[in-house]
């Protein structure tokens, strides 16, 4: 249950913070969820990774799909040397997910420090 909750909250919170803050706001989200929602560290990482990766991946996909992937085809060559829009969407999801997931791991580790 906590796992599912952290997935959902991390996605929603990332979206909300992203309206005002730069990309690293997903790391703030990760830190907070890790700190406040007690789970195993690996579960923290995984849930937040999944939540944010889903958010970034789906968001990127919907935008790109509405764009007939015009931009993604071009940018994918620049970033991953291959004109594959789906791979760029996946890369986007990974980058968001890992950044937030690692932060969640760190947040949980911090919480553990305070636990007697």
């Amino acid at each position: 249950m906590k796992f599912l909750v952290s997935i959902i909250i991390s996605a929603l919170l990332s979206y909300a913070l992203g309206l005002f803050l730069p990309w690293w706001s997903v790391m703030i989200v990760g830190l907070c969820i890790g700190f406040f929602i007690p789970q195993k560290r690996i579960m923290c990482f995984l849930s937040v990774f999944i939540g944010v990766a889903l958010f970034w991946g789906c968001f990127a996909f919907f935008i790109s799909n509405a764009n007939d992937h015009i931009l993604a085809k071009r940018v994918a060559v620049l970033v991953i040397k291959k004109s594959d829009p789906m791979l760029l969407v996946l890369t986007t999801a990974m980058i968001g997910g890992i950044s937030a997931g690692v932060a969640a791991f760190t947040g949980r580790s911090l919480a553990i420090l305070f636990k007697k």
Binding site: A60, I63, A76, T91, L110
Partner: protein
Amino acid sequence: MKYVVFTIGLLLNAALVYVLGTREVLPIPLGEFLSVQEGIWQNAESVDHDFSENLNLKDLNGKVDVYLDERLVPHIFAEDENDAYFVQGFLHAKFRLWQMEFQTFAAAGRLSEFVGDKAIQFDRNQRRMGMVFAAENALSAMERDDSTKAALDAYTNGINAYISTLNKAELPIEYKLLGYMPEKWSNFKSALFTKQMTYTLAGYDKDFEYTHALKLLGEDNFQLLYPEIADSLYPVIAKGTPYSEPLAEILPPPGADSVYFNRKDTIHIAQDFKPNPSNGSNNWAVSGSRTRSGKPILSNDPHLSLSLPSIWFEIQLHTKAFNSYGVSFPGLPGVVIGFNDSIAFGFTNAGRDVKDYYEIKFKDQSKSSYWFNDEWEKAEQRIETIKVKGAKDVLDTVSYTLFGPVMYDKSFKTELTTDKAYALRWVAHDTSNILKMWLLLNRAKNYEDYHHAIRHFNVPGQNMIFASHNGDIALWQQATFPLRWKGQGLFVMPGYDSSYMWKGFIPMEENPHSLNPASGYVSSANQRPADSTYPYFIPGSYEVYRAITINKKLDGMYNITSNDMKALQNDNYNVFAELARPLLSKYVQRDQLNANESKYLQMVESWNLQNDPNEKGVTSFHAWWDSLYNNIFMDDLHQSTHSLVRPEKFVLLEALARDTAFRFIDDRNTSQQEDISMQVTSALKKATSYLTELEKEDKLEWAKFKNTTVYHLLKTSTLPFARSGIMNGGGNGIVNATQHDHGPSWRMVIEMTHPIHAYAVYPGGQSGNPGSKFYDNFIDTWAKGEYFNLFYMHTEDTNADQVKWKMSFNPVL
């Protein structure tokens, strides 16, 4: 243990921020770049994007409505013309902001600010050439004129109104890629843009190369390799047109023979940056006597580096005072090439030399005074501060003489080991308001208005073509061109003697021009404007062959329709090959060829002389001719450590046609005496091995060989933003002047009937955003030689089918 784990987590976080959020590890900060809410995904414009909008903005005097058609061409309807310029600025910024800034940063020598130290030499070159100085002078002239200032102020306000609405997510993708932010626009940036255009079109010079060539070759050979006029010249103003006597005879200073034409030493300067000499254009206007409709038709296609975003942005400006349509420069208000209800106007480059160098002797290392008219003259000094991304500022002191800025000296060109320095005299530095011409042309109603408007234009020299609904056609080669004595400015001139300075300018009324000639047409294609009877010395960089094709075709055309004019703009006939091929055929020693060589000979001889996409003969012909050119000239051009400038391609053709004992035919590196047959045959043998390779790679067909490419402005660093492999014909010296990455940047045909019939296309799209379907959507139409019917909108057309979106601009008090 838990401390260790936390520390590892913290370090990992820091590492991610460092790697994904900065440019230290990866060239692009991927976190920021791929972020869905602020990164590149935000630039992926929905293919169904709704451009309709309601905006409330300061600095507007009244309501402005913009109707966007299905090609995203804005039709701006404003009462007040300054409101129209405001909205033009807003839309230029909305669709082309990055390009506008990039071009003016380049003009001002500020590229190092965002690309780092690799641009320092470029930036110094721009500053030392006096680009900023020139723009300052232009700005002061533009702002001294009330109507120009009002137009520019409105335009600038419009751009800034857009910039102030921008948030990070909406930044053009290039800013995200390079990592910087746009700054506010200013009238000065528009002035810089005019100077960048001037550099592109009137920034070419050969003074140093010619000085070296003259010294090395001597007068006779120099004349042979770099003749002033081509035998086959078809001048802009028809041969035989009488010219009035010059105002005054202009004589070289006494002593020019020894100190100027026969200088003792030579000069080598590697000029790393020069505009593309292919920058040029075609234009022609045919009078009603030659058209089916009885009204004139005007055609124009400017040849520039093909780029995405395009140099052009299509627009219509409808105000109480005028209703103009055409292409504009993102960076300037008004329509630059186009038409209104009464007239149409267009341009080709004059190619005249308006840029000379003077050798300066400084008193000492401070470079603050120089020897001039027997005394030490003070030089102004200007300190240029070049900001460099990731490094310290570079300071460069540039001395300003009576001629202009000292562009080359020891501090800039390491090959200058002595204290020699070279000052630049360039018309581009002179104070003038060229924008005024365009603002007046937009509202011009007849020949008198056009003639009045073009007086304001001083540089870059243009062949300004005109046609009106009234039935007039005209062409003026207009700018302020220096009065020169014969030979003046071909070579580097002494800077210690005022008698070598320019003596003034050719009076405008004596500039080559033509109004309603008996032939029924006027045309220009960057050729020399007049034959040798023109009473002034007019050196320049001129094209020969496009003009021949255009004039010959127009001579035989009657009952002309717009379709005929479109076909002529896309004509692929190779008149150079028509003249050169018989020579090759005549002199090739057929008995000495093997089967493979004979095959390519056959390919050339059976070719239909059309540079069509699928022709192989054209590729073979050029390989053969280029190889002959190298056989004949390369030994002579490379005889000193500093190679000589290449003679124009007409030089070899005409020399061989005149005299098969042309003295450069022999290869000076061999003991035997080569004759023309040997050289032609050996050229075919050399070309054969090259052609065989091409054939293996399936690149013998002209379009595959040429590989027409429209690069993004950042060239190869943003290759995915380019369009390559465009299968079209044309080439250098062909009316369809499409080369690999250079060619017709806008094709326009306007028939001056009422209603006006207007057709045009450019190789790009209205949006500068590589994530928009409007980024490159005109390219295929352009490549096929097809045109769009322009939607020349009038007040009653607001509900027409072509209108797809409407933007309303409302003033806020």
